[in-house]
Amino acid sequence: MPEPFIEFRDVNKSFGKLQVLDRANVSFYQGEITAIIGKSGAGKSVLLKHIIGLLKPDSGQILVRGKPLSQFSKAEWTRFKRSLSYMFQNNALFDSLTIFENIALPLVERTRMPASEVRKKVMYRIEQFELEGVEHKYPSQISGGMQKRVALARAVVTEPEMILFDEPTTGLDPLRKNAVLNMVAHYQKEIGFTGVMVSHDIPDVFFISNRVVIIENKRIAFQGSPLELEQCDDDVVWQFIHGHEILQDQLTGLHSWIEVEKVLKSELARVNEAEDPSVVVFFWVDSLEQIKEKVGYIAAQRIFQCMGMSLRESIGRSGYAARYGSEGILVVMPHADSNTASSIVKNLADECSRQDIMDPASYTKVCIEFSIKAGIVELRDSMSFEDVMSQAKKNQKVIAEMKCNQGRG
């Protein structure tokens, strides 16, 4: 591993009685983009503000190329600070200066560049960030998305060695969000700056990052490459990577897979000793990939939403249901038998057949035939998880079907 550009060693920081960083050890490497993720208020921005000197650690050290920041001479500190740019979460644009003056400010105040040269550089950035026509307006006269781009333009206009981005995409529409991430990745390759980015855009931010740092509960829960992140089996890390799936599950009214897996394991262990059975139902949507491809993600999500709602109603608190893989839902019902499971399956079939997703009239352009299948397994002695799944697949039957009208599909 090369020497880190910036390294935090056992950094502690508190605001009054509230501790924000607890022995933080993080490294940022030259020429890489590091994404810092964590819940709101977890101390991500605090970490950034330490790098640029807006905050000082209560204890611990911050090293720049191996030398502690606290031992920097005034000249060294000025040189280091001038090689950085900081993009604030709320943009921090100067509201009494025009957009042009905002972007030009670091050049005008820090350099002795002739006015024509400043104008050339600023106009280049204005064009690059699609801000033509607003250069004479004031920040309050332009949209939030534009303000974000002005802040970005101001951050890159000095061509810094390192840029610290504090949530650069918050408040942008999805198209601009991707454009900003794209732009960061593009200029990072072109200019070669080191980027540190606090972001909530999971998983998008992983695509442009070389390293990921997760802050959870005042501590660094993970640091490494996005690949290492994907293979990490820590619970906290898992929740961050699959955050969007958790939201989908919440919308469908399902539990998280972690919860259901725990219940299933304990039930498998329990049925070995107890007499009352437990039952597992595996629902599976046939041709889901085709629906996603030809109709869309929303249609696919609607199918799961309908299944989730029906399951929530019929199993209530007596069972647990979660997405299993991309096409299935696994239901675990402790202390229940096959009859209960059958009635749940019937309910689901009736409920979903009534919904618009099972109505051919809803598909105006292309119609895909698909079916919902269900397999019931009663848990018995010495069954493994794999046994349960293979048994469920063996027992599965079609419970609801979408048939396209003739001449369509």
Binding site: L54, F88, F94, D95, S96, L105, P106, E109
Partner: protein, 273 residues
């Protein structure tokens, strides 16, 4: 129980001493901070390259834009001085002294003080509010991250402009006030205009004018330092944050500046007389 009462009494005395000590330390700390802020802001005026453009902008904001209000206040102050002065002097049959009375009270006292109070209300409050908003919206932090010294960029031009503008506005106030006195004394109440101006010419000496200017220079430094300080450190206030913090900073800036102007005026007058 006598023992208990004694204990409570000593506890109360200790708490009192504790409070006194804490408050004194806070005041001394605050005074020290203002002192450092003042000297640092002043020193930054002379740091290179000079910030001519920004100083001129502030002269326009603090000075030119106060022109109308200072003229109006000066005019009515002079007029009321003329009116009151006339009715007092006429009792002693010396209404001819009206010009001297109006001019001396304006040049030595009312000119510098009322100008300072007016500028505090118009420009001082807006300096505190502007810097306060810049602080809470992280604009001052943004300057810091760009390695632009916020004291040099924001505070020094305002201090320099105040030092230039206060004496000029005071001079304007004095002249228009004298003309106001002329309006009531000469035009309305019929004093001879030659006598009015001749008395001014006879009684006002250069020392009166320079003392008035010295006062206005001191007020310029006090007002600009206090207003900038209150705005600049809005975020350090314990009583309020955000918009409330800014409103408190603006109020403190105006109140503290006004009180200090009057206190310093008394001290300076007693030394200069």
């Amino acid at each position: 129980m006598p023992d208990n009462t004694a204990n409570q009494g000593s506890h109360g005395v200790l708490a009192g001493i504790n409070w006194l000590g804490r408050t004194t330390l806070n005041i001394i700390g605050e005074l020290g901070a203002i002192g450092i802020f003042f000297f640092y802001g002043l020193a930054m005026i002379f740091s290179l390259p000079f910030q001519f453009r920004k100083i001129v902008q502030q002269i326009y904001f603090i000075g030119v834009k106060s022109f109308l209000i200072i003229s109006l206040i000066g005019l009515f102050t002079g007029m009321v001085l003329g009116l009151q002065g006339y009715y007092t002097l006429v009792k002693f049959g010396s209404e001819g002294m009206l010009g001297a009375a109006v001019a001396l009270s304006l040049i030595r006292e009312l000119g510098p003080v009322l100008t300072a109070l007016m500028v505090i209300g118009r420009a001082g409050s807006s300096i505190a509010a502007e810097l306060g908003i810049m602080r809470i919206s992280e604009q001052i932090d943004a300057l810091d991250t760009m390695d632009i010294n916020p004291m040099r960029y924001l505070v020094s031009p305002r201090m320099a402009a105040s030092v230039i503008v206060f004496p000029m506005l005071t001079a304007l106030f004095d002249v228009i006030g004298i003309l106001g006195g002329y309006l009531t004394g000469v035009v309305l109440l019929g004093i001879n205009s030659g006598i009015y101006f001749n008395r001014i010419y006879d009684s006002v000496v250069m020392r009166d004018i320079s003392e008035g200017f010295l006062k206005s220079l001191c007020f310029a430094l006090i007002v600009s330092t206090i207003c900038c300080y209150q705005g600049y450190f809005t975020h350090m206030r314990r009583e309020g944050f955000g918009a409330r913090g800014v409103s408190l900073a603006t109020t403190s800036a105006v109140v503290i500046s006004c009180v200090l102007v009057l206190v310093i005026d008394y001290i300076l007058t007693s030394f200069l007389l």
